[in-house]
């Protein structure tokens, strides 16, 4: 029997997300207290005109029961090979929110157009802003989940995604099999690349005994992760 899950979705405008420049500076590598022109002005100018290029939406399905083993998580007969690290972080989860979220196709298209015209810096700035938009939107959804389940005495974990913490990006296919087709307009290519490119997906664990880890990066030795010490 095919189990279907009830999806929960959200949409945001760029204005609603009230994007801050600090995470943009950090993702570019800068110390937020030591950023010089022209970068702050270029970022502000781009933020001011990006709204029409955004189609920000995200959502999740809540799945249970979940079975956590040493290196795997089994949900409704599907085994996720998440590795030891992620199973440890998701320890004690009684249920999980399987999510995706996107900033929309327009931002990536705008970034690509800049780059195709040789304006690499402008294209890069747009790309980084797109990353921050999708993460900020997902922060909101994460908070909605946290607030809703805290009323029932449950906690939430951090977000964990295929492609990070040694969890293979190829596992996206299993994750997306739990989501409705083209959920929030996000789809996967043959190589597990999400379209639109500025999209995220992953797991959030829920339960009375799960933990949110404040300094997750301290426990990871990846040196090329774009999220390293971002939060």
């Amino acid at each position: 029997m095919v189990t279907t899950y009830t999806p929960v979705t959200y949409r945001f405008t760029l204005e609603e997300l009230n994007i801050e420049v600090e995470p943009i500076y950090k993702l570019m590598g800068f110390d937020p207290d030591d950023v010089h022109e022209p970068f702050p002005e270029m970022i502000q100018n781009e933020l001011a005109i990006l709204a029409p290029y955004c189609n920000i939406q995200g959502g999740y399905v809540l799945v249970e029961p979940v079975e956590l083993q040493d290196k795997t998580i089994i949900i409704n007969g599907v085994t996720f090979e998440v590795g030891k690290k992620v199973t440890r972080y998701l320890k004690n989860s009684q249920r999980m929110a399987l999510f995706t979220c996107t900033a929309g196709e327009g931002i990536s298209a705008r970034s690509k157009q800049f780059m195709d015209n040789g304006d690499m810096l402008e294209g890069y700035i747009t790309d980084v802003i797109g990353s921050v938009i999708v993460e900020t939107a997902m922060d909101r959804i994460h908070n909605y989940i946290k607030n809703e389940y805290s009323l029932m005495g449950e906690n939430t974990t951090n977000r964990y995604s295929p492609g990070y913490c040694n969890w293979s990006v190829g596992e996206q296919f299993k994750l997306f099999s739990f989501l409705p087709d083209n959920f929030c307009n996000v789809s996967l290519s043959e190589s597990a690349l999400m379209h639109p490119i500025k999209s995220v997906s992953g797991f959030i664990g829920l339960g009375t005994d799960v933990k949110f880890i404040e300094y997750l990066c301290d426990n990871c030795n990846s040196t090329n992760c774009i999220y390293r010490n971002l939060k």
Partner: protein, 222 residues
């Protein structure tokens, strides 16, 4: 003349595009890459000398700083912008005299992968270091790399991948290129790959940063 070369190298290193550009603050009101390149040409400097005595010097310095985490992608892109401004004047002259370039580099992101910021960064650093760059873009198949290789028989091929799922495509592409042209030099880069992977798939070089690619190409060219 030497003073002008040195000034232009500084403009490239610090990303000073032209006199009107407010960045970097310490160069405010001073001539930038645009004006200095024109001045050097007007005073009789050759395109090759401007490339080797100013552009390459500036790009090497910013490349090393980037490797050492002293600057970040936006500053490298500002340098690249200053370099591109200078190249607008030099490229037509290179076309007249191809020997001014150190060699040709074909670059692309492998089939199945659409990430291109790292690839673009490498392309710009390599161009600024005196090479002609043929950028094939993203989602590039073995056939496309090999077709470009036929047009540029002495070119080195570089390819990048950001996804672990496209590392398999990278392996396939490298093996196909090497099967057809065993002497063709191929280098790889990208977040999920490393030196061991390069050796396993038969690539000639793995480089974790753009300056490493430049150093590999310089070693091949010397």
């Amino acid at each position: 003349m030497e003073q002008l070369y040195s000034q232009l190298a500084d403009c490239i290193e610090f990303g000073k595009i032209n006199q009107a550009a407010p960045y970097p603050p310490q160069f405010k009101g001073m001539p930038g890459a645009d004006e200095l390149t024109q001045q050097l040409l007007a005073e009789g400097a050759s395109a090759g000398d401007i490339l080797s005595k100013a552009l390459i010097i500036g790009m090497e310095k910013i490349g090393v700083k980037f490797r050492e985490n002293k600057v970040f992608v936006p500053q490298v892109l500002m340098s690249a912008k200053a370099m591109s401004t200078a190249l607008v004047y030099l490229k037509p002259l290179f076309a007249q005299n191809g020997s001014d370039r150190k060699g040709t580099f074909i670059i692309g992101t492998v089939e199945g992968d659409l990430h291109d910021i790292g690839k673009n960064l490498v392309a710009m650093m390599v161009e600024g270091n005196g090479y002609e760059v043929i950028d094939l873009g993203t989602d590039v198949t073995a056939e496309k790399f090999m077709a470009a290789g036929k047009e540029h028989p002495d070119a080195v091929i570089g390819m990048s991948a950001l996804l672990t799922t496209t590392m398999g495509n990278m392996e396939k592409i490298v093996r196909e290129i090497k099967a057809a042209e065993p002497n063709r030099k191929v280098c790889i880069g990208g977040a999920p790959v490393n030196d061991a992977f390069a050796k396993k798939i038969g690539a000639d070089s793995y480089n974790p940063d753009p300056q490493g690619v430049v150093e590999f190409l310089n070693a091949m060219a010397s």
